[in-house]
Symmetry: D3
Subunit: 220 residues, 6 copies
């Protein structure tokens, strides 16, 4: 399931990230995927202090966002990485790697996230393009919005035909590995949050009982 979360970053934070992006050095995206034939983009050189500041801004924004927490059930989050697609850059169709090596041990990528920084009006092309069999989703978000979706999909970034696409990407290991279970639990929690107080308390308790046991069964 796909969740576009609005206003993950404040306007102030978007501004700060853009300023950092204008100053830091970007390197070939193949730096972290040397064997990729599909990757044709730029990514922040993470050795720089300002680059680390950018990642921290994005990471802190996810940590405080309630919808993100409720939808993703995060266990561990890879440090968000600022990526840039200049004109004619793209990232061909690929499956995200199931295991991301991190300093504190490998992370299983359950959820992928793209946090949009550039204004969609400022660049053409560059849609996050998700292949669902023969059908296709094309996604472009407002600055500060974040799309989170299962890492299990085949997807690509369409070629940028004008302007510059600037986004953070990240990968999250969820406490609920199966995407379908994760989405059912999110939905049932929403029903409880929005309707629980209308219910007779015995039925609200029974709904909480079902939610608690589904959560227990599915988490690891």
């Amino acid at each position: 399931m796909f969740q576009m979360i609005k206003n993950v970053l404040t306007p102030q934070e978007i501004l700060e990230v853009r300023q950092i992006a204008s100053r830091v050095k970007f390197v070939d995206g193949k730096a972290t995927n040397p064997h990729s034939h599909a990757k044709n983009n730029l990514q922040m050189d993470i050795g720089q202090p300002e680059a680390q500041r950018a990642s921290q801004i994005a990471g802190a924004a996810m940590a405080r966002n309630e919808t993100f927490q409720n939808f993703v059930f995060p266990k561990r989050i890879a440090s968000p990485l600022l990526c840039r697609y200049d004109k004619e850059m793209n990232y061909g169709s690929h499956a995200d790697s199931p295991v991301i090596p991190l300093p504190n041990g490998p992370l299983r990528s359950d959820v992928s996230g793209t946090l949009f920084i550039a204004d969609p009006a400022s660049y053409e092309g560059g849609e996050l393009t998700v292949h669902l069999g023969t059908e296709v989703l094309r996604i472009k978000g407002e600055p500060g919005s974040m799309i989170v979706y299962p890492s299990t999909t085949l997807h690509e970034v369409a070629p940028v035909t004008s302007g510059q696409r600037l986004v953070f990407i990240t990968f999250i290991e969820s406490t609920i590995a199966d995407p379908a279970s994760r989405e059912l639990l999110f939905t049932l929690n929403e029903v409880h949050a929005l309707e629980g107080l209308k219910m007779d308390w015995q039925n609200r308790t029974r709904l909480q009982y079902v939610i608690a046991n589904l959560h227990r069964n599915w988490m690891s």
Copy 2:
């Protein structure tokens, strides 16, 4: 989970079953469990037409009972068998057989059921006694009531110390094999039935969506 369902049989049907029970021949319960050391009761000789009539009454009552259907999700039901415990009879601690040979192929016993015919005031002892580790449930039902519970438990019928215990027993293969899943789905369906119309329709639809997918995932 344990569900005592009231009024599965009508007073009329209870009467008819008692009359049949007073006329038909009962045989040693070991007839169907020759290797059992625990079984010490009597059961209707099912070759007699009246015995078959009794089984049909009980079977039809389960088929029309909504709570039974909602709780058990029955796929196949073994023909209910009338059992009698005279004074000093009992059925020692045992696990129900996982596979019941039936004419149309083996049935996996997921749910066990006892449909009470004798008045609990008319006999002493004879409680259905379920061992849940070190704790114990003792169950005695009103005439026409039926207790349905997972066939996975260790249970016994305590010795009858006076009077006569008369019950139907049956075994059911469920479309939802796992007892914990079956109970969560029953509970969520109840919440929907009792609270659905109070909800905003979008949320009611989302609850239906969760129920449909849990049902799909768990049924076979």
Copy 3:
């Protein structure tokens, strides 16, 4: 996963179905979903011989279509039903029922299918609209094409704003219940079909070995 399968019906068959549709009686779609608040369409009255002929044409077309068979792994297919959406008709957001009662026993709906009869240029609106969280797929097919997709999604048919939408719908129980597993097996079978003969035979055999065991593990 979504699979648009082209040319399931021949031009001749499309013509015949349209002729039948112009003659048979349609009834309120609530006939088969009396409690639905969302359903606002018409469906063929299936008692008529010509209606049965239409269903047979569609059913036979699915049975002979190789892509359909390879993608769906069908166990049982509900008889396709011709549905009509006149101007202002729609089918609001809903989850398909997990269990469809059929004469020969209940069918678990794993896969839903829409087989398009009307020319998409002949009506406006009426898109099959699938909600994937906050993102949306809108699907409209060529005459004779069929979209098959998991019954697990929340979806709707958008209001028809001009013309008439004519489609068959059907539900399929798959031998592979889990949609994600079904899609991985389909994909791996495609890789084998397209690339197998380029491989060294030992590796082709090893690929077949993996495919056979995944198929075995996932089917029921």
Copy 4:
């Protein structure tokens, strides 16, 4: 499954805990469940050194108890918390939270435990009351005894009608998440412990082989 474990605490330890309970400050139970409408009891203010001493006594007693270890297969144990129910206090029907936030990361509550401190003769009411569908277990233990049971149940503490109920409660994450699997493994280990030496060694080895593989399959 329910396991009442005797003599988890020694008489000396029971005495020490009672003395601490008479001196430490208790606060409203809602301190740790601010949104609960059901909780109406008191719990030790855990900031006090004596409160921590009490928790340590209880925690050490569980760690050394062989039956506890064999039945629960503990991975992590939340620090036991001393709770007091004065006259008219109770804890209404509820499901335990599936996730308990702890300093070293969230704990999945698989098993709930109540370690009894007050003498059952010294208070009326206050039974741990577990709802198993329509049937009910009522549990009251001797001082120093501990009942452990699946956190998956709906349960309550009945109102205390006289005297004072004093217990520790705790939550345990098990290496074997599924309660039914946990109980089968406990039971098979008991059979091995009690009967293994009577067996021919080849059969004892085969039993160990089954136990080892079930344990492996079920643990995480």
Copy 5:
């Protein structure tokens, strides 16, 4: 797991099968696997009445064999087929097809079986050769013996270098799909059969309880 079952056929039956084999027509094994590059053997033309008689002898022998029943938990058995490997014939490395089309619906091949007819002293080569990664099992049975093993393995029949290899092969769908579970249940049932009567009856009952619930959990 691999189980060599002795004396599935009586000497009389072996003789009868050999006589049939000397009279019936054999056809190229590719008849039932037209796309196979690996299969290089002969199989009985099943249209002949004597061929059907041979299959019936083998099928009846499996049906009455207790070890076969206890090890395989058969749901459906494909009609045994007599196969012949003359000098220089073989069946290269392959995985058995997961689905065998049968008149009464597709059969999932969980267990493969080879019932030996020729005397192993009468032919050289022709070992059933099972690849378990880099290690190899080579299996040749006495006349009337049957090896049953998971259909999940990669295996071959080594070239016959002299004499003639004559065997029945068959495929079985088990009520317990997972080979590891099937083997644990077989083993635990054996422990119960061989050691149950030495146990205290409470422990024997507990062992039966574990067996019943494992069987229930694993069967479909």
Copy 6:
């Protein structure tokens, strides 16, 4: 599945280990399995610095071996232990313990490994003997070779009848607990490595997509 990995140790390392083995003290193998009736061998006393050096050599060799990594998907590896079987020593049939207590928490033994040090020509008997039902694998490796196999098997070390068997043993917790899944993933990765570059890139991407999702689904 069984994988014999060649040249895990270099000739230099084999020499160094043999020299260490000739100097360090060995103790009765029951030191770590005090209740074992089957174990009759010697193992390095691990308190000695040279013993730790030997373990480090073996551990480092596994860490750098690509086949080992690809086949085992190791999460944690128990420190390899040098074991010696002098004449008439053996280790009777047993199942490896499912849980190995280690300083940093219990390890689930998914994979067992034996790294051969002695030349197979220098001792008779001492085969690693794996029971697969009624069939048996007998394994003896070249110096520096390592056999890795599921810890789920029943196995033994046959009595040494002359010379001295010198091996390291170790136990590994895998990120992929199920041995059958682990083997399918290993095989599919091999097919990709050996055949991927021959494929059209779309199909190679689809194969990577399947591999990534199987890996994700199966790892923990």
